[in-house]
């Protein structure tokens, strides 16, 4: 899985804003994504990072549902500054990250865009072994190296191609609608 630097950089910043509870900056950064493809790839990265942290903390395996439930409860408890709904976090982890169900099927529209970054940020910030000198960004570096070292299977390549083609088609369709809606002259 190649990680595009133009996707990685803003995604990393979003994690930082989520960890430091800089909510206005988080909002602003999210709105600054230039196109849907970049934002969607950033969502993919955030979800992959969450899965890697969770797998790592479960000893290298996908966590059980019970463990996911506990993790959701813990994330809802440890965040002092903003609300993380336990059930929403659990549904997101279980159904989207591990179940492959589309984000908007599981989450309300706003949360579908924000929660993946917020959850990944909180997971990184709480699971990096800071007492051993590992900052959350060191942990993120290590995870990204693992992700990039993974072979891209034909199935993944096909899906990525399909995803990008769908997005380009959706963008063209949105642009055509916008042109139709704009009064001429």
């Amino acid at each position: 899985m190649r990680i595009d630097p133009t996707v990685e950089e803003p995604t990393r910043e979003l994690f930082g804003f989520a960890i430091r509870s800089e909510l206005a900056e988080f909002d602003e950064k999210l709105r600054s994504f230039g196109d849907d493809i970049t934002l969607r790839e950033a969502l993919l990265l955030a979800m992959a990072v969450s899965a890697m942290v969770l797998n790592d903390s479960a000893g290298g395996h996908a966590p059980t549902r019970e463990r996911l439930r506990d993790t959701a409860a813990i994330l809802a408890e440890i965040q002092d500054d903003y609300t993380l709904e336990q059930d929403e976090v659990y549904d997101y982890l279980d159904r989207c990250v591990y179940g492959g169900v589309p984000l908007t099927t599981v989450l309300p529209e706003g949360a579908a865009v924000t929660l993946p970054f917020v959850v990944a940020g909180n997971l990184l910030g709480s699971h990096a072994e800071i007492e051993k000198g590992q900052q959350w960004w060191d942990y993120l570096d290590a995870i990204e190296e693992e992700l990039e070292a993974a072979p891209e299977t034909a199935e993944v390549s096909d899906m990525m191609r399909g995803l990008r083609a769908d997005l380009r088609a959706a963008d063209r369709s949105a642009d055509r609608s916008a042109e139709r809606d704009t009064p001429s002259g």
């Binding site: 899985m1 990393r12 910043e13 930082g16 509870s21 206005a24 988080f26 909002d27 999210l30 709105r31 994504f33 934002l39 979800m47 992959a48 899965a51 890697m52 290298g60 395996h61 996908a62 409860a73 813990i74 965040q79 002092d80 500054d81 609300t83 993380l84 990250v97 591990y98 179940g99 492959g100 169900v101 984000l103 908007t104 309300p108 706003g110 924000t114 917020v118 990184l124 709480s126 699971h127 990096a128 800071i130 007492e131 900052q135 959350w136 960004w137 993120l140 570096d141 190296e145 992700l147 990039e148 070292a149 993974a150 072979p151 299977t153 199935e155 993944v156 899906m159 399909g162 995803l163």
Partner: protein, 133 residues
């Protein structure tokens, strides 16, 4: 109020944050609950320290040697039909990729959502600027 008013989480009231004592001293706690409580304290402490750690640096450049050896290692392993047959590192990565691609790849028109949010916000700002009556 639309859910898309703000693309950020809702602020939490300080009164809703349980103290460490409340977490670990709850009466009648089972062993499992007490393990979760202990983990909660550890993770909360780390998160608070991470919050104070300052702004993140950019991604460290991956050294060519690490990259080549990892790719070489990966290329030498035939991909099995089931991820279970892969070594732990690769199986979790492959599994992760497939699941998240499925989840993020369908039915999410984010750009349209963001546009709509911005338009809603503009509309509200105009309404607020308008004098009453």
């Amino acid at each position: 109020v639309s859910e898309l008013d703000d693309l950020q989480p809702r602020p939490r009231r300080a009164a809703d944050v349980a103290s460490s004592a409340e977490l670990v001293d709850a009466p009648g706690m089972s062993l499992k609950e007490s393990l979760v409580a202990e983990r909660t304290l550890t993770l909360r402490s780390r998160l608070r320290r991470s919050r104070r750690a300052g702004k993140e640096p950019k991604r460290r450049r991956v050294s060519a040697e690490v990259k080549i050896s990892a790719v070489t290692a990966a290329a030498s392993i035939p991909l099995a039909a089931s991820a279970d047959h892969l070594p732990p590192l690769l199986s979790k990565v492959v599994y992760t990729s497939l699941a998240v691609l499925n989840a993020a790849g369908v039915g999410l028109n984010i750009r349209a959502q963001l546009k709509r949010t911005a338009e809603d916000a503009d509309g509200r700002a105009e309404d607020e600027d308008r004098p009453d009556g």
